[in-house]
Symmetry: C2
Subunit: 411 residues, 2 copies
């Protein structure tokens, strides 16, 4: 990407109505644009980052047998009435609307009901189970208060997977595999060290659910963490009985603020009962399907990473999800010429700051603000030794590489 041809610009002005530092930096660096409170557009840099997060999650979901589909936001009333969740008192985050042709519709804040209904067309025998179906889909939630930038919004990207199993045993096998895969995902996203599987409140079909909580001062949750065992307990279920059951000792636990980046939940028969999703077992007996749900919000994760890994100069992206890997600046005429050559070798990996209007200091500040992992400088001075200077955004470490060494990194 050539900055001179990119429509977004960085800005020094911090939006007055944003509290969270991630939102401030994402807005200032041109990753997002605010339509209204809790509703943000993704500009080219933000979209690339979000899509890289999505792709990592997709690869991991596919690796455990997930099948991807894409459901609609518009939802007819009847399928939600079956479970009792059409009622605003039961589910208070609905956006409802009206059809010109007559009738009420809702904008799906989640998809248990419609997917359970859909699966009735495809599940009839134990041979059709288990099935793991997921999507990346825009969810709408009518939050009373929206804050923390893209960490909690009214319209956001969600990965929601639902499992359909013959019974609890078949369910738990996948549940555990998915929990392990979630840890792998957060590793790949660069927040593995500070993300912990956390026991939280369950439901009718299991005492606990599992949350994945990332230590973060701007988080909305309080967790009690056993660093050695790498597990935590959400404040909501923190009591003597829980600790005893989990074999944890109160004095070994650390009380921390954290942000939820994923959750997995045993749904049991809640929705298959309501919508009558059954299968015939090996003896031809009709049985209810046993369900689970598995969520990660890629846009929320992007916010948490921006919040957690940024410093006073701006964003700091892990390499796997940075919109581009290198931020290239040519200094002087010779430097500019060489920069053009280097850029042409790998435009997909490089932001080339080819702006005539910006001074070098401004370019360096923007490289820091955007959080691109490596800033690469070519100038008459570096070229005298046939080299480029590379600075690591996270560590601040600077080193010289020969042109050939750098070029070999680009391919």
């Amino acid at each position: 990407m050539k900055l001179s041809q990119s429509f977004t610009k960085t800005t020094k002005t911090t939006p007055a109505d944003e509290v969270s530092r991630s939102a401030k930096f994402l807005l200032r660096a041109g990753y997002i644009y605010k339509e209204m409170a809790g509703v943000y557009d993704y500009l080219p840099l933000g979209m690339r980052t979000l899509d890289k997060i999505i792709q990592i999650i997709r690869e991991e979901m596919n690796s455990i047998g997930g099948e991807e589909l894409r459901m609609t936001s518009l939802q007819p009333k009847a399928v939600w009435e079956a479970s009792g969740r059409w009622d605003d008192d039961v589910m208070d985050v609905w956006f409802k609307t009206k059809l010109n042709a007559g009738g009420e519709l809702g904008l799906a804040p989640t998809h248990e009901e419609p997917l359970t209904r859909l699966m009735k067309s495809y599940i009839s025998s134990y041979k059709d189970l288990p099935r793991y179906v997921y999507q990346f889909q825009t969810k709408f939630r009518n939050e009373l208060r929206a804050k923390s930038g893209i960490m909690r919004t009214r319209e956001f990207m969600m990965k929601d997977l639902y499992s359909f199993s013959t019974d609890r045993e078949q369910h738990l096998d996948f549940y555990e595999r998915c929990a392990q895969t979630y840890l792998k995902i957060f590793d790949r996203l660069g927040i593995g060290d500070s993300t912990f599987r956390t026991f939280a409140s369950g439901g009718s079909f299991s005492k606990f659910s599992d949350e994945f909580q990332t230590l973060c001062d701007a988080g909305e949750d309080i967790i009690y963490l056993d660093r050695e065992k790498k597990i935590a307990v959400n404040e909501e279920v923190y009591n003597d009985e829980t600790l005893k059951q989990l074999g944890l000792e109160a004095d070994k636990l650390e009380k921390c603020k954290a942000a939820e980046v994923g959750n997995i939940f045993t749904l049991g028969y809640k929705y298959t009962d309501a919508l009558d999703l059954c299968y015939n077992d090996e003896d031809g007996k009709r049985q209810k399907v046993f369900m689970g749900s598995y969520g990660i919000g890629p846009s929320r994760v992007m916010g948490v990473i921006a919040e957690k890994l940024s410093d006073d100069k701006g964003l700091v992206w892990p390499e796997e999800i940075a919109p581009y890997k290198y931020y290239l600046v040519g200094i002087g005429e010779t430097g500019e010429q060489k920069a053009a050559e280097l850029y042409a070798k790998s435009p997909e990996n490089i932001i080339w700051d080819d702006r005539k209007t910006a001074r070098t200091g401004e370019k360096f500040a923007d490289a820091d603000l955007m959080g691109i992992p490596y800033r690469v400088v070519v100038s008459e001075k570096t070229l005298a030794d046939d080299k480029v200077e590379i600075k690591n955004r996270r560590t601040g470490e600077t080193k010289l590489l020969t042109l050939n060494e750098f070029i070999s990194k680009l391919s």
Copy 2:
């Protein structure tokens, strides 16, 4: 994809409430699922097809300088009031909703207003122009009647690009480049031969707009086509004056039914006036930005292709957008074993019909229904000569290839 592990199934039952043959086949083959009238989920096969269409359009938009972003559906009232389009009498396809925190919101059926407002943050000088910004984004339109399956729906995928130029001349340069690129896109999508640039009604800033119309009996438009010149006139502007202006002769024109698959439009100052999007010209004088819009609905295009290219056995996808290229069937134990080996070489390109429960005839019927370009059969008989049998879905032509010839096609 292994069919034994895929959750969708084909069905012989034709949905009673669907009129269009594309919808019938897409439903029967497991590409889409109907949530309600005019609202369809994309199942794995449908999603893959849709994503391939999207990727072709994306590549071509990037090739003419498009920058991709992703805007929101939720829209505050004020920005649409500025243009007068908040009013349901002016724009009758709104879905409106209410914010729990107070206030009315709309679900964007198009994005001229919010994008024009967004660009106010980034355009201030003639040096910031031209800019071409686009997205693939879910649009909501409260259609009174929804019919023709995914050809006209209430929730659909749209590619909308908007151009921002200094003046009409700069605008027209891009407008024409985009028109040529649209023709290239429809070529790549496999409907180039039957898709024609069509003069349609314009607006305050140009006499005509350009539609791209695909000849199709299920289409909703009537066009008058000059096959030799490869241009057409929409019925809505078909009159002596138009013909004269375009140098067309009535008796050389063919009256045809067609489906609109794209349109480009000169917006002029309509939205930049309403929202005050200006730039300073080279003399420092404040000028209004000149706009254009350029739409293609990938989900609609998918419906038109399904409608147009299907036959009495089912769907027929062009190779570039088929969800998979090969439909592999092993016959007998040796055939099954070899099929497993071939599948493992390229699971991304192959649907392997490894179902134990289906007879060969059923597998062949499903291959036809799904419209996969090549059906590949391996059996003891073909393997006796070290060969596979390949049947072309479109032409029905069958030929034998050696295993090595087929394997070389997979990589």
